[in-house]
């Protein structure tokens, strides 16, 4: 029973990491940038969701509000910050590190502005359904209707994204711009707009991850909450495990990370909460630097 519980907790946490990893992958595929502000954007979207909940009172309104807000904000960042960056900082010794530094700066700006507007204290979003575990044969599982909901929503989003990428013209444009921007441009794909769209999709995915990370925890969140630092690190690690370039890889990476951490915390030590992801990342980078399903190639950015 403990084994099953650990597995289920890991899968739920892992599916949230997977969403975050998808956000990283979408941004990486569209602009070849690892967006370290992704967790900041997810946090901001969570505040959008909070505003919607406190005004309208329904989590089901808050979810799309957070997604749209997150998507618009991410698109804005791509339009303003990323385009300026390509224009100004693409030569000299800084060129290789400029996008990393810029997105980190953005993370700081988002955090400070959030603290100024909403204050540094804990706010609370109440989960729409119960987080009390299901009961089977008289014993209570840790797995709850809420966790089931997280899994279902993540699965639905994944299916929608897959359909978008594999079955639509827009998806073809997204894939083409990611793999060969020059050729895509020559074939008439508006690569710049497609990039902005990639960021917007990432913003929406991050928003869902942020909301679910909050309600799957204790419902509290604040600009400094460690949950979001963890979301940043775990999402990034899951994306790297998956090869950073593949949506399927991101999902597998997220689940792998979630389940591994869950087992480490249960059977090794719960004190490894923060250091476990780092150790897993190092092991993965040493054993399979190209990710689980990535092609064998040097890791160059």
């Amino acid at each position: 029973m403990q084994l099953l519980n650990t597995l289920l907790i890991g899968i739920t946490a892992g599916s949230i990491y997977a969403l975050m990893a998808i956000a990283f992958v979408l941004v990486w595929r569209s602009t070849r940038v690892v967006n370290f502000a992704q967790a900041g954007m997810a946090l901001l979207s969570t505040y959008f969701g909070y505003e919607a909940v406190s005004r309208i009172g329904s989590f089901w309104v808050a979810l799309p509000v957070a997604m749209i807000g997150g998507a618009l904000f991410a698109a804005l960042v791509e339009l303003i910050l990323m385009r300026l960056l390509v224009k100004h900082a693409s030569s000299g010794p800084i060129a290789g590190v400029a996008p990393i530094i810029a997105t980190l700066g953005l993370l700081g700006v988002i955090r400070s502005v959030i603290s100024m507007i909403w204050g540094g204290q804990d706010l609370r979003i109440v989960a729409p359904i119960s987080n009390n575990g299901f009961t089977i044969n008289g014993s209570t599982l840790v797995f709850s209707p809420l966790k089931l909901l997280v899994l279902v929503v993540v699965a639905v989003l994944l299916i929608l994204l897959t359909v978008l990428f594999q079955k639509t013209n827009l998806g073809l444009a997204l894939r083409a711009s990611a793999h060969a921007p020059e050729i895509a441009r020559l074939s008439g794909v508006r690569v710049d707009s497609v990039r902005t769209l990639g960021w917007a999709l990432a913003g929406a995915a991050g928003a869902v991850a942020g909301l679910f990370q909050t309600v799957n925890g204790n419902g509290n969140f604040s600009p400094d909450s460690i949950e979001f630092s963890l979301l940043l690190v775990s999402g990034f690690i899951a994306a790297v495990i998956g090869g950073l370039d593949s949506l399927l890889g991101a999902v597998l990476g997220g689940l792998f990370l979630g389940i591994t951490i869950s087992f480490v915390l249960m059977y090794v030590s719960s004190g490894l909460f923060f250091i476990a992801p780092f150790i897993i990342l190092l092991i993965v980078l040493f054993l399979r630097p190209q990710g689980i399903i990535g092609v064998k190639a040097g890791r160059r950015a």
């Binding site: 690892v34 010794p93 530094i101 540094g120 990342l281």
Partner: protein, 334 residues
């Protein structure tokens, strides 16, 4: 055979700098002396980033954590064995350098965002380890007391002035070492590897080893900065080395000009001045408490973005590039 010109090590310049600082510290009030000590610590920490990122082309978001390694090493030795303070600092350098070598060995296989993400995970994860071990003092941390200034310096010699002397001396020595390292064969190998790794390998440089070496040295310097920071604060705790510290160092390095060691003083002064400026601005505007406390963070991050966008290679480099361009235009019109 053309005989290579012997590079001067600029030792007299650094000694002169020390003399100037010595007299300066006697002339200003206690708060300025304290800030001077903090600036000296930032000078050391930022130059470790300049060496690593500007020269060797590797990004680290984990230097705050490496500073913590140095600080804890120094504090534990001081408490458990009561070692003389100079030995504590040396061990701080060695401990952080060993940590850096391990991290660097992993880092040499990574580049760009992978390295940034890995060191970010370290910066978030490592401070929490302090709660795991009794000897590290948990959330409260450890006391780190370097003792009173020697009596020979006189009765009026204050504690902060003593801190300033130690920090400034350490800063001068490390700047001198780094400057000469960057102008040595090591420095050239780092720059070559940053510019074009394949070309550097063809020229006979072992780029992997050269990167690990850069990481090790940079970490050692960061460890020294960490121990000095702990000396000024008086304690070592996880909260003294937050993620924001790593970000501040990066901001300082970018402001200084990521390849301009001489500019490091700009970055350090700005980092120390920002909280004061933010305080004044917030009071002028009569803003609420949540704005006042978050303004410094906003300014640091905002500056980071603006600098990367508009003076990406730092003010000094920008000026030099403009002058070079001007000269080239002048020559072509002739």
């Amino acid at each position: 055979m053309h005989k290579a010109k012997k590079e001067s090590t600029h030792l007299p310049l650094f000694i002169l700098g020390g003399v100037v600082l010595y007299f300066l510290s006697g002339m200003v009030d206690e708060l300025r002396v304290y800030q001077g000590a903090t600036i000296a610590v930032y000078v050391i920490a930022i130059s470790s980033i300049i060496l690593l990122t500007g020269y060797s082309g590797q990004v680290s978001l984990g230097h705050g954590a490496l500073m913590a390694v140095g600080a804890y090493a120094a504090a534990v030795l001081r408490i458990e064995f009561n070692l003389p303070i100079i030995l504590c600092f040396i061990v701080a350098v060695l401990a952080a350098a060993i940590g850096g070598a391990l991290l660097g060995a992993a880092a040499a296989r990574l580049s760009g965002p992978y390295l940034a993400g890995t060191t970010l995970a370290l910066a978030i994860g490592l401070p929490s380890l302090a709660n795991q071990f009794e000897i590290l003092g948990g959330e409260q941390g450890l006391l780190f007391d370097v003792g009173f200034p020697p009596l020979a310096l006189g009765e009026e010699f204050t504690q902060y002035k003593w801190f300033f002397w130690i920090a400034a001396l350490a800063a001068l020595i490390s700047m001198w070492v780094i400057r000469n390292l960057l102008n040595s064969a090591f420095g050239r190998a780092w720059r070559a590897g940053r510019g074009n790794e394949v070309a550097a390998q063809l020229a006979g440089i072992n780029t992997a080893r050269s990167k690990v070496l850069a990481f090790t040295i940079s970490a050692g310097i960061a460890g020294l900065a960490g121990a000095l920071l702990a000396m000024i604060i008086g304690t070592v705790s996880p909260s003294a080395f937050p993620l924001a510290l790593s970000f501040s160092l990066l901001t300082g390095a970018v402001l200084s000009g990521i390849t301009t060691l001489g500019g490091v003083i700009i970055g350090a002064v700005v980092l120390v001045a920002i909280p004061e400026i933010a305080d004044v601005v917030a009071h002028r505007l009569g803003s609420s408490e949540s704005v006042t406390t978050n303004l410094p963070g906003l300014i640091v991050s905002g500056l980071l973005i603006l600098t990367v966008l508009f003076v990406p290679n730092g003010p000094v480099e920008q000026h030099r590039a403009r002058k070079a361009k001007h000269a080239a235009q002048h020559a072509s019109t002739k």
